[in-house]
Symmetry: C2
Subunit: 344 residues, 2 copies
DNA sequence: CTGTTAGCGCTTTCAA
DNA sequence: TTGAAAGCGCTAACAG
């Protein structure tokens, strides 16, 4: 057993060649004769040589790591299915290029940012956050490329998102074709959202995705001649199926005359479907948003969007690719013709 | 705007002190007089100084990064709820300590491992993998601490896991108290599992968690005097609810006399519940494994285990903590007394 | 195609 | 308490 990890110098010495031949063998193989390359590779193999990414990073300024930042507590990334689909897209790009995906630590609030700004990553992807998120400002200030999913649209960062406003308007309008007494269930409107039960006119949002979707719903209500102040709204502290179920149960129990529940996500919607199925309230229409596989299969009305593709695009941007800034498509998926909705 | 990021040298120059005073100010504040420290901090602030993790890593050998490795395609980490709970536990520890969580790229097969072994991380956490996974061997060979969730138990790495064998035996035995014609749905038994429909006696596994759980089921069957060759078994290529639903549907349609479906995970089980509910086959018992929140709420029989805690423990081990090697608890959760099962 | 030189930004000596 | 020197392992830039 040798005492320490072998370096390029050791490899070169063993092969009887210079350090640079060894270096080129790994980084620019074409600059080295086949014979030398073979000798270097043999020596490296015998020694069990592994290049030091730390040294390479110091020298080249590139780390081979992509940083992903969530303003929520990190565990969130692993609980929300939409975040998960988005991350899976990022992961695809990283796997293709042999790049590591680093989830940067945040305490779950808009707090100290040292760990983020000094992180050795080549670029940042932010999951939607507030415009005043200090981590976002610092990431931009660091000079490395920044992609944001869902907004805010802010100078120095590239935003990747569907038109949440138009999409939300479309799905709400579809619902209101046959409903007059809707209720709303929203995911968080603030970074550290507390649960809120109120009417729609009272809801203020600082998170861009929430803001845009609520605006779409409000527009559709206005078009249908329905007063926001008559529309009950639960704002959940987290985008979760269980919370959606509880909120829907409460809505159904408290306001038995409602005929639709508009939700801001499929997770919430699927929870609501479960609550209403349990009560046999099949006449209440439920809409979701995002088009998760489960939601599409369940037959609810929702907005389908390709979050994996958006994840891939964010990753490409954050890795410095020149990405054409085409709009992201979405489409309205209507309630299955039978009218029956199931939860898988 | 300055051309480049300021270094410690710039900070020191600005403060009229040596580089070392600046360095100590950040790494060992007590070795520096209060006056000097204040001057350095002021200079750093004015310059917008951020330490270079790359340089620090090269010098100290520590990167402040924890590496997590999945033998499956990386996207898996974000799709499987049990993996997600485990990762959330890891993420908690990382967030507490200001450590980054790096998901290391793998192509999804047991292939080249360069990206893993040369990765600049301080330690590794593996999600259960095959004993012959080259990435696992290389990680151990790199000399950095390695924790494995679920196995294999292998020299040089610390394994964190419940006793899958005993737990699976317990849940199967519970089911077989009132069932005589069970079918089985398993998650992958190999790294690149293809879908398989066969009988239980034909299933071979190289993944430790699958191996142990299957062994538990086989033991319970033997105790109940049921021949493995009579037990249909679907081996899924992935641990997913949708695939569980499809498999259960096929089982129900092909073998209408079955009275139980034993599954190796709650995700599969919840899919099976949906399939059977859709057919009104409420007399068929379904069991899961893992104790996800949804499964516990649905009322199925399952094994509850705390995957977040196991994630935390793996992270601690991989970060070099001395962790006492106590066994991980689990418990059997029996079918809710009403006998009715719901999907949320 | 191969080798030499210099230095990325930091911290570990060791001396003042 | 502060400072000078050396070097972590690698590669850009050049010269041979």
């Amino acid at each position: 057993m040798s005492g320490k990890r072998p370096t390029l110098r050791d490899v070169a010495a063993r092969a009887g060649l210079s350090v640079m031949v060894a270096s080129y063998t790994f980084s620019r193989p074409d600059r080295v004769s086949e014979a030398s390359r073979a000798r270097i590779l043999a020596a490296a193999d015998e020694l069990g040589y592994q290049p030091s990414q730390a040294a390479r990073a110091l020298r080249t300024g590139r780390t081979g790591l992509l940083g992903v930042v969530f303003s929520e507590h990190l565990g969130y990334a692993f609980r929300d299915p939409s975040a998960a689909r988005f991350l899976a897209g990022i992961a695809d790009v990283c796997a293709d290029r042999g790049i590591g995906l680093t989830l940067l630590p945040t305490g779950g609030r808009l707090g100290p940012t040292d760990a983020i700004t000094s992180a050795s990553v080549d670029g940042f992807v932010f999951w939607t956050t507030a415009a005043n998120d200090p981590a976002l400002r610092e990431a931009i200030a660091s000079g490395r490329p920044v992609a944001i999913h869902g907004g805010p649209r802010i100078a120095g960062a590239t935003c990747v998102s569907i038109d949440d406003h138009e999409a939300a308007r479309a799905v709400a309008r579809e619902t209101l074709r046959s409903a007059r007494r809707p209720a709303l269930i929203s995911f968080p409107a603030q970074v550290d959202q507390l649960p809120v039960v109120t009417t729609l006119d009272n809801v203020r949002s600082e998170l861009p995705v929430t803001t845009e979707r609520l605006r779409g719903v409000r527009d559709a209500l206005a078009e249908a001649g329905i007063d926001q102040r008559s529309v009950g709204c639960h704002v959940l502290p987290e985008n979760s199926r269980l919370l959606g179920r509880e909120a829907a149960a409460r809505i159904a129990d408290d306001t038995p005359d409602i005929d639709a529940i508009i939700t801001l996500s499929d997770e919430i919607a699927l929870g609501a479907v479960a609550a209403l199925n349990a009560r046999n309230l099949t006449r209440v229409r439920i809409t979701g948003f995002d088009g998760t596989p489960e939601a599409l299969q369940s037959g609810i009305t929702t907005i389908a969007q390709d979050l994996e593709m958006q994840g891939r695009r964010c990753a490409e941007i954050a890795l410095g690719d020149r990405v054409t800034d085409s709009p992201i498509p979405w489409r309205l998926v209507r309630l299955s013709s039978t009218g029956s909705v199931s939860v898988s």
